[in-house]
């Protein structure tokens, strides 16, 4: 029992736990739509695309979240503009922007040669450095994400369910998609400090993808993803404390491992009735 409780007796681990839980909840709301709408690659690109903005903000000594948000907005704009080209498939333009933004971020960081900008911290997160005031920001971000999820639910369902005919329902598909993109941006901007720009994607989609295999309704997927995300945070922090591994990466690894566990269990579940049918 002590093995489980020990890490959380240290205040910075407690802050990390609170931060990780808040981020897991935000990611559960946004990640469910990312998985359902098939926006995983876009979500991944958005998270990597944060790097230049975060690096510039770190260099200038400004708020990292502001830099991240500006960077994500530039990324979303780029994807939208390039997406209008009938000759390029969306994954081509997303991939190019993703590589370009990541490269730009690394160039900015490498050029600065400053100890103020820690590339490893930006890429892989620094959950143990979460400060109490950042928890307040994360709580506000969670409240906004929850409001967008509740109020936009109707539009998101219609958009995801039948995007081609959504406009005949009176839905503005572009504005609904933009709102959804905003929700995803909020999630990656809020989360990158905890798990870094490279790993935020795992926390965003792994819990939701796991639940998609098990839940039958959208709110159940969100709820289950929240539980799995919180469990990943708790287990990840305990493991990283005792094994001396990087906390953000361990949290993400636990989330992805839970996905593979869930997927294996789901495939066993799907085989069982058939076996019974054959024998019975």
């Amino acid at each position: 029992m002590e093995w489980l409780v020990d890490p959380f007796e240290v205040s910075f681990v407690r802050h990390a736990l609170a931060g990780g839980i808040l981020v897991s909840l935000i990611c559960a709301l946004a990640g469910t739509w990312v998985v359902l709408r098939g926006m995983a690659f876009l979500g991944d690109a958005m998270s990597h695309g944060l790097l230049p903005g975060v690096a510039i903000a770190a260099l200038l000594g400004g708020g990292l979240a502001v830099g991240a948000a500006l960077s994500a907005a530039a990324m979303a704009l780029g994807v939208t503009v390039l997406g209008r080209s009938p000759r390029l498939s969306p994954d081509t333009s997303i991939g190019l922007l993703f590589a370009g933004m990541l490269a730009l971020g690394v160039i900015i960081v490498s050029h600065s040669r400053s100890f103020a900008v820690d590339l490893t911290g930006l890429l892989f997160g620094d959950v143990l450095a979460v400060r109490p005031e950042e928890l307040t920001h994360l709580a506000v971000a969670l409240a906004v994400a929850a409001a967008v999820s509740v109020l936009g639910h109707r539009s998101f369902v219609a958009l995801t369910f039948d995007p081609r005919t959504a406009h005949t329902l009176g839905l503005g598909p572009r504005s609904a998609h933009a709102l959804l993109l905003g929700l995803v941006t909020l999630a990656v901007v809020a989360s990158f400090h905890v798990v870094g720009t490279l790993l935020v994607f795992g926390l965003l989609i792994a819990p939701a993808a796991t639940m998609l295999l098990w839940a039958r309704r959208i709110p159940s997927i969100m709820l289950g993803a929240a539980v799995l995300g919180v469990a990943s945070t708790v287990i990840g922090l305990i493991l990283s404390w005792h094994l001396g591994t990087a906390a953000g990466a361990t949290i993400t690894a636990v989330a992805v491992s839970l996905f593979f566990l869930g997927a294996t269990a789901a495939s066993l579940r799907d085989r069982l009735p058939r076996t019974r049918a054959v024998t019975g």
Partner: protein, 242 residues
């Protein structure tokens, strides 16, 4: 004089390099119950999808209540029932969620559903006899039941005009009867209906006009009686493509 519901002028549509509609003129007035008939591949579905702006015109023009589909905003007046559920990627939406999306055009964007919204969804589900399946994911329903969900979605919006793309194709007898009953009710209320079908079947009594398409052109347009003679020329297996 009020605008017609749909006005398609010289509508030409090309899909994959093949002409699918070859200069079609069609005006549908309020209160008409129009059946669009024709063999497979004659362009029936393309015609109704073009009326809604879902298929781009190669040339010609289309108006919904006097406006182009791009400028048309009053989607609450239109209830579209597509040919089948296109639930991409196994989105686990429930029957109630899908039917409730038919109310979007009537709702303030970010306000919760009103009592009227909930009542309309409840009535629509009851009308297609799926009230007991409201909480089930739509993928768990049979093809005919899914078609009834789409019809309920249109009914829930309480539109002035229904556009239905083969609502009875591949549907069990119970669902066909449920559809016919709903159609009789909306037609009796003076709503406009444009319906793609292979044959009139149980819907015949409510149809006021029949449009027959062959090879992307309207070859007959008149009272339902013309359907009897046209069916001989509209054998479903007859290929219209060279």
């Amino acid at each position: 004089m009020s605008d017609p519901v749909f006005r398609l002028s010289e509508g030409k549509v090309t899909l994959g390099g093949r002409p699918v509609l070859r200069g079609v003129d069609l005006v549908v007035g309020p209160g008409e119950v129009v059946a669009v008939l024709g063999p497979n591949g004659s362009g029936k579905s393309t015609l109704v999808r073009t009326l809604l702006g879902l298929v781009p015109l190669a040339s010609g023009s289309v108006e919904i209540y006097g406006r182009t589909p791009q400028r048309f905003r009053d989607w609450r007046r239109i209830g579209y029932v597509p040919q089948r559920l296109t639930a991409g990627g196994g989105v686990p939406a429930t029957v109630r969620e899908v039917v409730a999306s038919g109310r979007i055009a009537r709702q303030r964007r970010f306000l919760p559903a009103s009592a009227a919204d909930r009542a309309a969804v409840r009535d629509a589900l009851a009308e297609v006899e799926l009230a007991d399946r409201a909480g089930d994911p739509v993928q768990h329903l049979s093809g005919g039941q899914q078609q009834r969900v789409l019809i309920a979605r249109a009914l829930a919006g309480q539109p002035d005009t229904y556009v239905m793309d083969e609502p009875t194709a591949g549907v069990d007898a119970a669902s066909q009867q449920a559809l016919a009953a709903s159609m009789r009710r909306v037609a009796g209320e003076g709503k406009t209906v444009v319906l793609v079908a292979h044959e009139l079947g149980p819907l015949a009594p409510v149809i006021t006009r029949v449009v027959v398409l062959t090879d992307g052109e309207i070859v007959k347009d008149g009272p339902p009686s013309i359907a009897d003679t046209s069916q001989e020329h509209c054998h479903p297996h007859e290929s219209v493509w060279p």
